[in-house]
């Protein structure tokens, strides 16, 4: 019995440690004060106003949306195509390529950032949206590959053979069978790519100019330089977005599961 109580206490405390910080920040988004402390003197939406109407924040949000969309498109297209190519077991260096595709997840962001800055400077792409999108795509593409490869691995190859024998040409098999079956994986890959881009700071520090300051980058410097409850408001938006994105992914996973 004491063992059981000890376990329950430990689990509760750890859950608190994991979740409480995220919850504690939420009410501060609605403070009327300029400092980020409890107790909250009175409620107000002024920091959301700041977020959406102050120039720096509004531009950061717009930039994040532009760069996130670009990254999502590029990473999803490249990653999905490559995952399809990786299905062929006859390809040489298949394992090596798969490792290469996943490696950007592992390499420390600062290391990649240094190299990327040198390289993009060479192309004249620093301080450009394209440069930031390229950098974000490098780190977002592994998530697409993992997600789409997983979905493709779940497709019974005989289903595609069956379609062929029923008279479908290879391109029709792809359009009518493979793609629809892989779609949940593609979608959750795209969502993960967007989330990765949204949260990327380090590469952005290295390759983006003042005109491509993203929301995450803006949060970083605002925590560093002049912290204000606008941070809490931004965090609030992030957490809400996370829950929405999480729901989308969980739903598409269960959609995938239901089909099998």
């Amino acid at each position: 019995m004491p063992m059981k109580i000890a376990k329950a206490t430990f689990a509760t405390l750890t859950i608190l440690f994991l979740v409480a910080p995220l919850i504690a920040i939420l009410p501060l988004a609605f403070t009327s004060s300029v400092i980020l402390t409890y107790p909250i003197p009175s409620w107000s939406l002024r920091w959301f106003e700041e977020l959406f109407f102050a120039d720096a924040w509004r531009r950061a949000i717009v930039n994040s949306l532009i760069i996130g969309t670009g990254t999502t498109l590029l990473a999803t297209i490249l990653g999905t195509a490559a995952s399809l190519g990786l299905r062929n077991r006859l390809i040489l260096f298949r394992g090596t390529m798969r490792t290469l595709f996943l490696l950007p997840m592992v390499v420390p962001a600062v290391v990649l950032g240094v190299g990327m800055q040198v390289l993009l400077a060479g192309f004249g792409l620093t301080n450009s949206y394209l440069g930031v999108i390229i950098a974000h795509t490098v780190v977002a593409v592994p998530f697409v590959v993992v997600s789409v490869t997983g979905a493709l691995a779940g497709i019974d190859e005989r289903v595609e053979l069956a379609a062929q024998s029923l008279g479908a040409a290879p391109i029709t098999v792809f359009r009518r069978i493979t793609l629809p079956l892989a779609m949940p994986g593609v979608l959750s890959g795209a969502v993960l790519a967007f989330a990765t881009s949204l949260d990327e700071v380090v590469l952005t520090l290295f390759v983006a100019g003042p005109n491509q300051r993203t929301l995450a980058r803006q949060m970083f410097s605002s925590i560093r330089e002049n912290i204000s409850p606008a941070i809490a408001a931004a965090a609030f938006l992030f957490i809400v977005a996370t829950v929405v994105i999480g729901l989308v992914v969980v739903l598409s996973r269960s959609m995938l599961a239901k089909r099998r």
Partner: protein, 355 residues
């Protein structure tokens, strides 16, 4: 009847592994041919080459007299039923069955009409809007069958289609498929490793072993007149006894067993005097009695064990030099262990097989 499908000296290698070796096989239009053999003997591979999923390493496959090696799968017009059914998980039952018709550019009204008929044929009309995952194994199997038949393919290929069903359902489906074959005049190539399934359903059975066909013939032929030791052992149960040929008289040979007994037996293939051979004696063809009867072949034996198995009595016997098994009808009397009995069988009920 004209020969419809012809495998001509087909060889298939997977890397260094020879899976099908120099195989010749002809199948007639409207025929039901089973490819029967143990797992790994190359049956699926042969079927996959016929469907166009795999290419033979050498040799030709002819359909209606023309080589189809270069024809891609989707233009071969063959309905394939897989063991796992391979239904499209994201389409309803109706969409699954409509798929091959849409691929052929058939108009919507006719597609609906034919899907309806196909569903009626397999008695699934009520389930047209279900997803495959909402069906039982037997229902999925019927959908797969309807999908493979609805476009009236030239040949229907089935790879162990009943393997995943339980025994009762499997036997029901065996009869249903046999019935469809007769009614629609289909040409069916059917892969199985279950000998009773092959015997039940087929016009002819091709017995596979290690990438070769050991024997091809009607169910009666492969059971009663096994050409090789492998066929005799693989299909049904048999007693194999070694001996030496003493004399050959037409379709019969006299074989001396190590115990000295002489057996007169029908012959598969050709044997010569002095040759070492096997005798295959089906257990259910052996009669037991305590008196030496009039039969041509009689062996003196002693009962070592006897087991009642419901539909038959299985008696294990020991001759001076070799064991023997007899299966007796359920009306037979009991033979307690230790009883001395004579095992008798006619020349037509055993078979000389060259090793």
């Amino acid at each position: 009847m004209a020969e419809f499908i012809r495998f001509e000296r087909i060889t298939k290698f997977y890397g260094p592994l020879c899976v099908v070796e120099n195989l010749d096989l002809g199948i007639e239009k409207g025929e039901f041919v089973s490819l029967l053999g143990p797992s790994g003997s190359g049956k699926t591979t042969l079927l996959m080459m016929l469907a166009g999923f795999e290419q033979p390493t050498s040799g030709n496959i002819l359909l209606d007299g023309t080589a189809i090696n270069a024809v891609p799968t989707h233009k071969r017009d063959m309905g394939v039923v897989f063991q796992s059914y391979a239904l499209f998980p994201h389409m309803s039952v109706g969409e699954n069955i409509a798929f091959p018709l849409q691929m052929r550019g058939i108009g919507k009204a006719e597609v609906d009409e034919r899907v309806k008929r196909a569903l009626g044929m397999v008695q699934l009309s009520a389930l047209v809007d279900r997803r495959p995952s909402q069906l039982s194994g037997g229902q999925q199997q019927r959908v797969a069958l309807a999908r493979a038949l609805v476009f009236e393919p030239r040949v229907v290929l089935m790879d162990e289609p009943l393997g995943a069903l339980d025994k009762n359902l499997r036997e029901q489906m065996q009869l249903d498929i046999r019935d469809l074959h007769r009614r629609l005049g289909l040409t069916i190539v059917f892969v199985t490793h279950d000998q009773s399934e092959a015997l039940t359903m087929s016009d002819r059975v091709a017995v596979f072993n290690k990438g070769r066909i050991e024997q091809i013939g009607t169910p009666r032929q492969v059971y009663d007149e096994p050409a090789t030791r492998f066929v005799a052992e693989f299909i049904g149960e048999t007693n194999l006894v070694e001996g030496v040929v003493e004399a050959v008289q037409g379709q019969e040979a006299t074989v001396r067993l190590p115990s000295g007994a002489q057996i007169v037996s029908a012959v598969s293939g050709t044997v010569a005097r002095g040759q070492s051979v096997f005798l295959s004696i089906r257990p259910e063809r052996v009669d037991l009695s305590e008196a030496r009867g009039e039969a041509r072949n009689v062996l003196e034996t002693e009962v070592t064990d006897s087991v009642y198995q419901g539909d038959h009595l299985r008696v294990q016997l020991q001759n001076a030099t070799h064991p023997l098994i007899a299966k007796l009808g359920r009306r037979s009397r009991e033979f307690p262990p230790g009883t001395k009995v004579f095992a008798a069988f006619s020349a037509g009920d055993c078979r000389v097989i060259a090793p």
